[in-house]
């Protein structure tokens, strides 16, 4: 997939879905859609977290001489 997974966006969407579920009256059809979307996003986020390894790189200076 050429699209990069944005963890921050996904996380924010999950929070929104959580909020939505706190409402008094919710539509069942919508609830099932949102549930599916929420679980999908959670799954992707968990994957991202599981696969993550930190990467360290030392930067070499471009210019070795000062002015």
């Amino acid at each position: 997939m050429s699209e990069e997974f944005d963890f921050t966006k996904a996380y924010k969407e999950i929070e929104k879905i959580n909020e939505w579920f706190q409402k008094e009256e919710i539509d069942l059809e919508e609830a099932l859609d949102k549930y599916e979307r929420g679980m999908e996003l959670i799954e992707k986020c968990k994957e991202r977290l599981d696969k993550s390894k930190n990467k360290f790189e030392e930067i070499k200076e471009k210019y070795s001489e000062e002015e």
């Binding site: 069942l28 679980m39 959670i42 968990k46 930190n54 030392e58 930067i59």
Partner: protein, 456 residues
């Protein structure tokens, strides 16, 4: 030092051989030899001597730097260098100067050109710090609203610290595995050259890696003096103008450096820097798992609720329908009853009709029988009558025959009567005949033709 001199002397030989300099030429030559120091810059430490000259208009100063051995160094400081330290140089102040030496042609004096002055004594350092802090604060460098927020889930981090130091180790140890991409710039974090490294680090990372989400500048604890690079005005201004948000962790719990004040986020130590960056990820991870549970339970709850509602509705409807059905069935029963009754009635009527009919039939039979008998009698009577009438008829006929016979004209004729006819028709009266009429007369045994002679 001698080995160095020897090598150097060898290099200079070609320039000196068989040459007599003028004063200017010589001074230029010596300054040429000193040129490498201008390029590399030197740092000298000493105390400010008694004689200070300050140019009131332009602000530059000439001071004498002395050391314990009594050696003296004549120094020239431009005004901006003085401004930078924030305090006025005074005799007795211990300072570090960075710059290069040259021989002043017109004065014939060996003079140190100062590029930067740093205070050494702790008291002076503190004074300088307070002055600078006040000035920068008033200029708005430390305003909270000017601080940028660090992204919630930072991934790309820049790190400016001393390679191999405990600070570096502590930072990485506490940076949890959440897919961080850390670009490290090796920088001195104390001494005179630290400032340059720090400035370069900030500028380089901003320039070459503009998509970094946070820039961590960190070092371990140390003396107040060793932290001086982090109280530098230029560093503050550079940090302030950094597009990448800066996290400073200068490892000094009690005292806050100017970098700490201008940074977008301050943490105490390198450890805390690592923890800080990981915190949102860790909490996010926990929150995700909670959300997962909540979503499932919320949805389950919803489904249960909906099922319950369905049950209620279906029971409600069932009851309603039952009632409706009952009512309908009652009215249906009623209909059926009345219909049944009507039919029963009709059937009964029919049966009674049938009975009646049967009775009638019987009556009819009887009547028929009577009629038959009557007819029989009638026909018998008729027969009898017929016979009688036949007899009567016969008798009458015979009578009539007799009469007829008697009436028979032939008889009359034989008795002597005759039939007179005129033109075929019988003449019944003499008046009907006139003279000359031709007549026929029938006798018993024949006919004669005659003519009337006269009528009497």
């Amino acid at each position: 030092m001698s080995g160095y001199s020897k090598k150097f002397a060898k290099k200079l030989e070609p320039f000196l051989k068989d040459r007599t300099f003028t004063v200017s030429e010589f001074v230029d030559f010596v300054n040429g030899i000193l040129e490498p120091l201008k390029i590399s810059k030197v740092t000298v430490r000493g105390e400010i001597g008694e004689d200070i000259y300050k140019n009131k208009q332009k602000g530059w100063m000439i001071i004498n730097l002395v050391d314990e051995e009594g050696s003296q160094l004549n120094c020239f400081s431009p005004s901006y260098v003085i401004d930078r330290i924030g305090v006025d140089p005074e005799p007795g102040m211990e300072i570090k100067i960075t710059g290069y030496p040259k021989v002043l042609k017109n004065k014939g004096r060996f003079s140190f050109q100062i590029n930067r002055i740093g205070l050494v004594g702790e008291g002076d350092l503190k004074k300088q710090f307070e002055v600078l802090k006040k000035r920068l604060k008033e200029a708005g460098y430390f305003k909270p609203e000017k601080k940028e927020s660090i992204p919630i889930f930072p991934e790309r981090i820049g790190l400016i610290t001393s390679k191999g130091s405990d600070a570096e180790k502590d930072f990485f140890t506490h940076l949890e595995d959440y897919g961080f991409n850390v670009k490290t710039y090796n920088s001195r974090v104390e001494g005179d050259l630290a400032l340059d490294d720090l400035l370069k680090g900030i500028n380089l990372l901003n320039q070459d890696f503009p998509d970094l989400q946070a820039l961590v500048i960190t070092r371990g604890g140390g003396s107040w003096e060793s932290l001086q690079a982090f109280n530098n005005e230029e560093l503050v201004k550079t940090a302030f103008s950094s597009k990448i948000p800066i996290i400073s962790g200068i490892g000094h719990e009690n005292d806050v450096t100017l970098l700490d004040l201008v940074a977008d986020k301050r943490v105490s130590t390198p450890t805390d820097a690592g923890k800080f960056l990981s915190r949102t990820w860790r909490e996010g991870e926990k929150h995700l798992l909670e959300s997962e549970k909540n979503l499932s339970s919320a949805t389950k709850r919803m489904i249960t609720q909906t099922e319950r509602r369905f049950d209620e509705y279906s029971r409600f409807f069932a009851r309603k329908i039952e009632t409706v059905l009952k009512n309908k069935s009652k009215s249906l029963d009623y209909l059926i009853n009345s219909l049944t009754n009507r039919i029963k009635n009709k059937i009964e009527k029919f049966y009674s009709l049938e009975k009646e009919f049967k009775n009638q039939k019987f009556k009819i039979k009887t009547k028929l029988k009577n009629n038959n008998e009557k007819v029989d009698n009638l026909s018998k009577n008729l027969e009898k009558s017929k016979l009688r009438w036949e007899k009567v008829g016969e008798d009458r006929l015979l009578e009539e025959l007799k009469k007829l016979k008697l009436s028979n004209p032939e008889l009359k004729l034989s008795q002597g009567y005759s039939i007179t006819r005129k033109k075929g028709s019988i003449v019944k009266s003499a008046s009907n005949l006139k003279k000359g009429d031709l007549i026929t007369t029938d006798f018993k045994d024949g006919t004669t033709k005659s003519q009337v002679k006269n009528n009497e």
